[in-house]
């Protein structure tokens, strides 16, 4: 069954790598729902956060292909239970409307929106959260005079991750990697040998 997966990719900061990664999705006709690149916890290492809707089998193979790219250090995939994530949204609303219509003010307060810029003619609010929350606010603000709206890509933290420092040290050593191809049969002798 298709579900939302968040792919986290640690990479070198290299021109052209974004394209190299993006075409791995388009080649398989997979739509990227959201894509964010940013620095990571380790200086000089970049972090891609990519959200797609796919079946796990496909995602698993795709992540292995991504990890195979020369400038990619490591790639992980997680479902929504395994991560903490946020998206950021900006709303431009007519300032008159905010002053006149109590409903608008109440909505903004309810969704935890903060004012970023207040001008005579318009006010810009920001809010962050899961997509559903942002979508809902956008929906209700729409008929009440939403002038402009923009939403960022997802950024996500992996619950089980202990960061990349350790891994990077290992990568910098000039010896074979200790990563393994995980397999359901590893260390399960009985299941393998019931022939």
């Amino acid at each position: 069954m298709k579900q939302e997966f968040t792919i986290t990719v640690y990479t070198e900061n290299h021109i052209g790598l974004l394209n190299r990664i993006a075409i791995m999705f388009s080649r398989r006709k997979i739509n990227i729902e959201s894509l964010n690149t940013s620095p990571s916890e380790v200086e000089g290492i970049h972090r891609f956060t990519i959200v797609i809707n796919e079946v796990e089998e496909v995602v698993k193979k795709l992540v292995r292909q991504i990890e195979k790219q020369v400038e990619v250090l490591k790639a992980y995939y997680n479902n929504n239970e395994e991560i903490v994530w946020q998206e950021l949204a900006l709303y431009k609303v007519s300032t008159d409307k905010v002053i006149e219509d109590v409903k608008v003010e109440r909505l903004l307060r309810q969704y935890g929106a903060r004012a970023v810029v207040i001008r005579k003619d318009y006010t810009v609010f920001e809010t962050s959260g899961h997509r559903e929350e942002i979508n809902k606010l956008t929906e209700v603000l729409g008929p009440l005079g939403l002038i402009e709206f923009v939403r960022s890509a997802r950024v996500a933290i992996i619950n089980a991750s202990s960061g990349f420092y350790e891994k990077l040290r290992e990568f910098e050593e000039e010896k074979p990697g200790t990563d393994i191809v995980e397999n359901e049969f590893l260390d399960k002798q009985d299941e393998v040998f019931s022939m």
Partner: protein, 591 residues
């Protein structure tokens, strides 16, 4: 100094096998141009012969090359596609990295087919392309193309150099990436300003480590033990031999492995020649036009051991009908291949040169006589139904198989066989005898028609003391026949056999079998190939009668220098057996 062409023509076949840094001319801490740095890198990497075609944006490098003629043998091809296929052929027979130069724009785009071919067949190739001046990038300058982005999906790695000081490190990385791990093509695009720019050269340091690139994993002992236990218990083990064994230079290790446990082995198209054809455990070729027994018995074996192969769809047929009963042990250096098409019970991730001996140490000495006999019995069936008629036909017109059979009589498996794509390719792979590894050069994954002629040129430079026979169809030959010019200019000793059936034979076969014989645009007329060859100063002959076959092949092989032999074969012959598309391997058809 003598003229460049003269030097190129006279200088041949001195083999400069191992390179030492002493051959490098420029000392560290001197000021040199980017172009000289490129050539210094090639010398340091042990490049002796390479291919290319000059043009505006790569002229500074060619200018520097003028002074490197005694160390670097540049072969001028007739088209950049020919250049990269030649580099591939070179890499395939020599086991070294193939190198090709091309200019910007059309020069670079002409490399794309070869890059895709090298990518899918894991061939180590380094391409160096010229590019417009850095300040002109993105201005639609003359002969400017976005080569990096065009080639991204078909390269293992690519990089654009805009500053000369980056050149030594970029090329060191290029060679390292091309040849390590699962090999592949790398492209370095160098802007013209970087080629002419002088910089303070610090010497050439080969690359040995890139932190984000881990070509070799630590081998997991647990999996080796599991694999060995599985093989020891197996009653019907079956080994699939892929090109990984050749790329990993592990032919000896592979032989020791299968011999110890008496494991029947079939090869993929690209794995052919890693194990001698007449080895007692060699049961033939896998795949759509492979042998009958290995296909059928894939669905009967209890343990399937895949070594350095990727379960291509032409090997597996329908996946949901492929070896469902078997436990699968998959040895591969590329972790992305494991579980990609066929779920492995035991994945042995690693270099098979390392993993095979570990495995051999743990397996028991065994013979699987009865099981092996099953392959032999089924081979007899195939011989009766297909092979006899193909190799010893009673019809008047010659068959492709019979040509191969007579050729085997002369070469006895010692020749390098280079094939194009189509019926002749499948027939050659089925019937050519191989006694030595790196003897089968063909476009496997991409199926590139036009591959054979240029690849044969490269194959010859990669194996100068071996006989190279290019077997090509009448269609494929016409795709890259301009490379006859290269053969002429550099006296490349390749024997060319054109198997002419006046058709694009493989497509015609499919149209006959699956499209109601609606022969849509497969009827191809050809020039008089012998006259064409003659125009290039290449000797040749065309034959249509059986009684001329043996003597003509002999004449071709004994001829000093290149030779073209056109052989007229049956127009509507089909290649069998065949696993029709969408069928399982066990549904292989004998007719």
């Amino acid at each position: 100094m003598s003229s460049a062409t003269e030097t190129m023509k006279t200088k041949k076949s001195e083999s400069k096998e191992t390179t030492t840094q002493s051959q490098v001319r420029v000392k560290a801490n001197t000021s040199i141009s980017g172009s000289v740095a490129v050539l210094e890198a090639l010398v340091a990497e042990g490049v002796t012969d390479f291919f290319g075609y000059p043009g505006g944006a790569i002229m500074p490098i060619y200018d520097a090359l003028y002074d490197y003629n005694d160390q670097l043998n540049h072969i001028l091809v007739r088209h950049e596609q020919g250049g990269i296929h030649a580099a591939q052929g070179y890499a395939r027979t020599s086991g070294k990295v193939g190198v090709v130069f091309a200019t910007s724009g059309p020069g670079a785009t002409n490399l794309v087919t070869g890059l895709a071919d090298a990518q899918i067949d894991s061939t180590p190739v380094v391409c160096i392309t010229g590019q417009v001046f850095a300040h002109l990038l993105g201005t639609d300058a003359f002969q400017e193309t976005d080569v990096i982005n065009i080639t991204t999906p078909v390269t293992k790695w690519n990089y654009q150099v805009t500053d000369a000081s980056e050149i030594p490190a970029a090329l060191a990385k290029a060679f390292y990436i091309a040849k390590t791990g699962r090999p592949g093509p790398v492209l370095i695009d160098i802007t013209k300003n970087a080629q002419v720019q002088k910089f303070d050269y610090q010497g050439y340091k080969p690359c040995t480590h890139i932190r984000s690139y881990r070509p070799k994993p630590i081998v997991r002992k647990e999996y080796i033990q599991q694999a060995a236990a599985l093989i020891n218990k197996a009653e019907k083990p079956f080994v699939l031999l892929g090109q990984g064994v050749i790329l990993g230079k592990a032919e000896k290790e592979f032989k020791a492995f299968i011999e110890k446990a008496g494991l029947p082995t079939a090869a993929t198209v690209l794995g052919l020649s890693a194990l001698p054809t007449d080895h007692s455990l060699n049961v033939g070729m896998l795949g759509m036009h492979g042998n009958y027994a290995p296909n059928v018995l894939t669905n009967e074996c209890d343990v399937l051991i895949a070594v350095g192969m990727r379960f291509d769809d032409r090997v597996t047929g329908r996946l949901d009908k492929y070896a469902k009963q078997a436990k699968v042990i998959h040895l591969d250096i590329d972790p992305a291949e494991i579980d990609k098409n066929v779920q492995a019970t035991v994945p042995v991730w690693g270099d098979c040169k390392e993993t095979l001996p570990l495995l051999t140490a743990l397996i028991e000495k065994k013979e699987h006589k009865e099981w092996l006999n099953k392959f032999r019995t089924m081979l007899v069936e195939e011989e009766d139904a297909v092979i006899k008629d193909e190799l010893h036909p009673t019809c008047e017109i010659m068959t492709m198989g019979e040509v191969l059979n007579v050729l085997n009589g002369f070469t006895n498996g010692s020749a390098v066989i280079v094939t194009d794509v189509g019926q002749h390719q499948m027939v050659a792979c089925r019937y050519a005898k191989f006694d030595k590894t790196r003897s089968n050069v063909t476009s496997g994954g991409l199926g590139t028609m036009g591959f054979a002629l240029p690849a044969a040129i490269g194959a010859k430079f990669g194996a100068k003391d071996r006989t190279v026979v290019a077997i090509i169809g009448d269609g494929g030959f016409q795709m890259t026949l301009q490379e006859l010019g290269t053969i002429m200019q550099f006296d490349v000793d390749v024997k060319i056999i054109i198997l002419n059936n006046h058709f694009l034979g493989m497509v015609r076969q499919w149209q006959q079998l699956f499209h109601d014989k609606r022969y849509s645009f497969v009827n191809i007329t050809s020039p008089d190939f012998v006259t064409v060859a003659k125009g290039y100063g290449i000797a040749g002959k065309s034959i249509a009668k059986r009684e001329d076959l043996k003597s003509s092949l002999q004449e071709m092989l004994e001829h000093k220098g290149s030779y073209l032999l056109e052989i007229m074969v049956g127009k509507e012959n089909n290649v069998f057996p065949m696993v029709p598309q969408g069928c399982g391997v066990a549904e292989i058809r004998l007719k």
